[in-house]
């Protein structure tokens, strides 16, 4: 039976699920990064999410806020590249936003996700349409907010966010990149999905899945 709120155990499942998904999609993400980047995004995400899992097992957090902080710190110090600081900042801000709350309902989760994404934007300075992970995050936040406003359940709100992220990911395909490595390709960056948008879609898919389980 799907929960009304998320708790520490669910967030931990999210991390477990994401590590599995990142490992499974390593070649896929790296293939996307080969087309318009430097062929390391899959390895970066797999390495980072595995490190988070190991860290959470070694020092289990006692709150969701702590989990966010641990995940963020671990990503920052284990990944490098663009993914490390960006996803690391995301989780650090997410954790800070959650604080010591014991449960997250759809609205507080939406706020926490938004805080995390604001961290990504502060760090990377990408705008909508720059062909980055932000192009998956922004529609996801919007869909989540809309679902919350219309009184949707947490599970439905996350499903909406997941679908919006996937659509945002697909919408990066025709774009000419203005940020990140793909920008070096100029016009040649068009016609390829942004790898970071794809990993963001996977991360939200993992969250929607553990919420619905």
């Amino acid at each position: 039976m799907s929960p009304v709120t998320l708790d520490l155990a669910r967030l931990q499942q999210w991390m477990t699920r994401f590590a599995a998904v990142a490992e499974q999609n390593k070649a896929y993400l790296t293939a996307l990064d080969s087309a318009i980047g430097d062929a390391d995004h899959g390895t970066n995400m797999a390495r980072g999410s595995a490190a988070v899992l190991a860290k959470l097992e070694a020092s289990p957090p006692s709150t969701m806020g702590e989990l966010g902080k641990t995940a963020g710190m671990t990503l920052v110090s284990a990944v490098g590249g663009s993914a490390g600081p960006l996803y690391g900042t995301f989780f650090l801000r997410l954790g800070a936003s959650i604080g010591d709350a014991a449960e997250l309902d759809a609205a507080t989760l939406a706020a926490a996700l938004r805080a995390g994404v604001e961290g990504i934007v502060a760090r990377g300075k990408a705008e909508a349409g720059d062909k980055t992970m932000v192009d998956a995050w922004l529609p996801a936040l919007a869909a989540m907010d809309e679902a919350v406003a219309s009184g949707a359940s947490l599970v439905d709100a996350l499903a909406a966010a997941r679908d919006a992220a996937a659509a945002g990911r697909d919408a990066t395909e025709p774009l000419v990149a203005r940020k990140g490595r793909a920008s070096y390709l100029g016009e040649r960056s068009a016609g390829h999905i942004d790898p970071g948008a794809a990993s963001t879609a996977l991360l939200l898919d993992a969250l929607a899945e553990v919420a619905a389980a």
Binding site: S34, D40, G80, P85, Y184
Partner: protein, 332 residues
């Protein structure tokens, strides 16, 4: 994929062991993946830290030593190192006069070094300044993009700033010098083949036998254009034209680097340098100093890049100053 490795995940750790075994004048902090001088520099002089993804050897670890860097942070292949590494390096090398971070202009590198500087500012009293190298004319510079990549000029930057730091330049003077190096330096690269990232296991891009990529960086990314394979003379022109269109070097004394991307043998690099030198002469540009070889590579990519730096007397004398690193050595 054919490489002299044990396993894709182990490449960096194994290579660091080899660097340590090969160079007693260096010390390797394996936990933080930092390469340091075995003998730190004099107290009271600014220390230089650089770093970046691996796969560009000898950059950066091979430029640690007297007259160049004090430490280099090695990231995974093509992946910027983390703030932790940079912080550890910064703390290890500070000699009381502050630490200069030399960063190639990539989003990942910039963000990680930024976080390291923030952490250093928050947690220690070490003064950290950052210079960013951005010299690749293949990339259009614009306020709205990530800007130009840092490529070949990084080698010249590390040599010139390293000599200046050794001579006692303070942080402000080093940053001012770096601005002049950036202002006078431009690069352009090309590839005959893609490289293969070990963890990816296959070439990053396919390139037919009769084509080449012009305007590549150093991370195996495709270039700006794909064009028919040309002769060395044509390639020299395709590399120099955009550099000279971007900046006027006429009459200037320049330091020229003809750099190999890792998979191209020295005989071809010399041959290319002959073509570049001939073209420069035709343009009335004086080659004051030159460097031909593999200095900033892209794994096993076949290809080359050209870097020009308009060098004033100060830069030339810093260039000529003694340097003793695995990758560059003269004067002692």
């Amino acid at each position: 994929m054919k490489k002299l490795i044990n396993a894709p995940e182990a490449v960096l750790a194994d290579a660091l062991r080899g660097i340590e075994a090969a160079h007693r004048e260096l010390r390797v902090d394996h936990e933080n993946r930092v390469i340091l001088r075995a003998t730190p520099k004099d107290h009271g002089t600014v220390a230089l830290v650089s770093g970046g993804g691996s796969g560009h050897e000898p950059l950066h670890g091979g430029f640690v030593g007297f007259g160049m860097l004090d430490a280099a942070c090695a990231g995974e292949v093509f992946t910027s190192p983390t703030p932790d590494q940079m912080q550890a390096a910064t703390a290890a090398v500070d000699r009381g006069a502050g630490v200069l971070h030399i960063v190639k202009n990539y989003t990942g590198d910039i963000m990680n070094f930024e976080m390291a500087a923030e952490l250093a500012a928050a947690e220690s009293s070490i003064e950290v300044r950052t210079v960013i190298v951005a010299d690749d004319v293949a990339v259009q510079d614009s306020l709205y993009t990530a800007g130009r990549r840092g490529v070949g000029l990084t080698v010249l930057m590390e040599k010139i700033l390293g000599a200046a730091a050794e001579q006692g330049y303070d942080l402000d003077a080093l940053v001012a010098l770096a601005d002049r190096v950036n202002a006078g330096g431009r690069s352009m690269g090309m590839a005959l083949t893609s490289c293969t990232v070990p963890s990816a296991g296959a070439p990053t891009f396919d390139l037919p036998e009769d084509e080449m990529e012009i305007g590549i960086g150093i991370h195996g990314e495709p270039g700006r254009h794909r064009v028919p394979l040309g002769s060395a003379a044509e390639i020299a022109q395709q590399l120099l034209d955009p550099i000279l269109a971007d900046r006027d070097y006429a009459g200037a004394p320049v330091i020229v680097m003809l750099n190999g991307m890792g998979g191209t043998p020295l005989i071809e690099l010399y041959l290319m340098f002959g073509e570049v030198a001939a073209l420069l002469e035709k343009h009335g540009i004086t080659v004051a100093r030159s460097l031909v070889g593999d200095y900033i590579t892209s794994l096993d990519m076949a290809g080359c890049s050209v870097t020009l730096l308009h060098a004033d007397d100060e830069m030339l004398s810093l260039w000529d100053a003694p340097v003793e690193t695995p990758g560059l050595r003269w004067g002692r």
